[in-house]
C-alpha cells in the first residue's frame, strides 16, 4: 500500500512524531511504500538541526533524517508553518532576510499543495497529532 503521513505536533512535547516514526518504520519494513511525510503546525519543529536533546534520550530529528536516507523518504515541512516558527533552509533564510538557516538533513520546505497531493496520490493518509 502507498501511504503518506501528516505530523501536526512538535518533537518531545507531544508523542505524535514518535508514533509517526514508529508507524512509518514498521510500514516500510513491512514492504509498504511511503509517498510523503508532511510536517504541519508545530510539526515543522521536527525539522530543525539545532535541536540538542540530552545524550541519554532519543534524537527525534536525527532519527527522521536517518530513516529518510535509508528509504529515500520525502520529508516536507510546510513553508507557511515553517516561516511562522523560524524553520528555514538557505533559500528561505535569504528570501526572508535571515542570517542563518536551520533545516535538518533529509528535510525540504515546500507548500501546502504537497499535502493535498499526498492525499490524492496515496491509498491512505494518516495523521499524527491531537
Amino acid at each position: 500500500m502507498k501511504f503518506s503521513v501528516m505530523i501536526s505536533e512538535g518533537p518531545y512535547t507531544h508523542q505524535a512524531s514518535d508514533t509517526a516514526y514508529n508507524f512509518t518504520k514498521a510500514a516500510l519494513e513491512d514492504g509498504h511504500e511511503c509517498f510523503r511525510i508532511f510536517f504541519y503546525h508545530d510539526g515543522v519543529n521536527n525539522g530543525t538541526r539545532l535541536a540538542s536533546p540530552p545524550q541519554d534520550d532519543r534524537n527525534i530529528i536525527n532519527r527522521w533524517s536517518a530513516l529518510a536516507k535509508e528509504y529515500k523518504l520525502d520529508l516536507v515541512l510546510c513553508v507557511a508553518a515553517a516561516q511562522r516558527r523560524g524553520i528555514a533552509d538557505a533559500d528561505e533564510a535569504k528570501r526572508n532576510g535571515k542570517n542563518a538557516d536551520n533545516i535538518a538533513s533529509g528535510f525540504r520546505i515546500s507548500g501546502l499543495g504537497q499535502l493535498i497531493e499526498a492525499g490524492i496520490q496515496s491509498d491512505r493518509l494518516i495523521t499524527f497529532g491531537d
Partner: protein, 135 residues
Amino acid sequence: MPETKKFLYVNRKAPYGTIYALESLEVVLIGAAFEQDVSLAFLDDGVYQITKGQNTKDIGMKNFSPTYKALGDYDVNKIYVEQESLDARGLTLDDLLPLTWEDEDDDWAEKESIKVISAAEMAKIMEQSDVVFSF
C-alpha cells in the same frame, strides 16, 4: 492527475487559543485549487470557528472569520455542522455566519452552504470520504 477524491476537513477546535483553525483554513484554500470534491465539517468547539460577530481586538490576534465567507467562491460549498455540538454550546444556526455559494447551474442562484446534521449523519460523511484531515 488521478480521479477526483472526496476530501473532508474536520474542524474540532475553537478559532483562537490554538492555531489549528487558522492553519486548517489555509489548507482548505490551497486545496481548493486541486479540483477535488471538498467538504468541511465543524464539530465540538470547532463550531465556534464559524460563529457570527467574532471580535479579537482585545487578544491581539487577527480575526480571520471573514475568510470563511470566501469559501463559496472557491467552490467549497458543502459545510456540515454537527447539531449535538451546537446544542451542547447553546448555539443555533442563527449564531453562525451566513455562508453561501452561487450555483452556476441554476442561474447563479445564491444557496446556503451550511447543513446542520446529526452526529450519526456526520459519521456517515466521514465514512464516505477518501481523505480526512482532522484539525
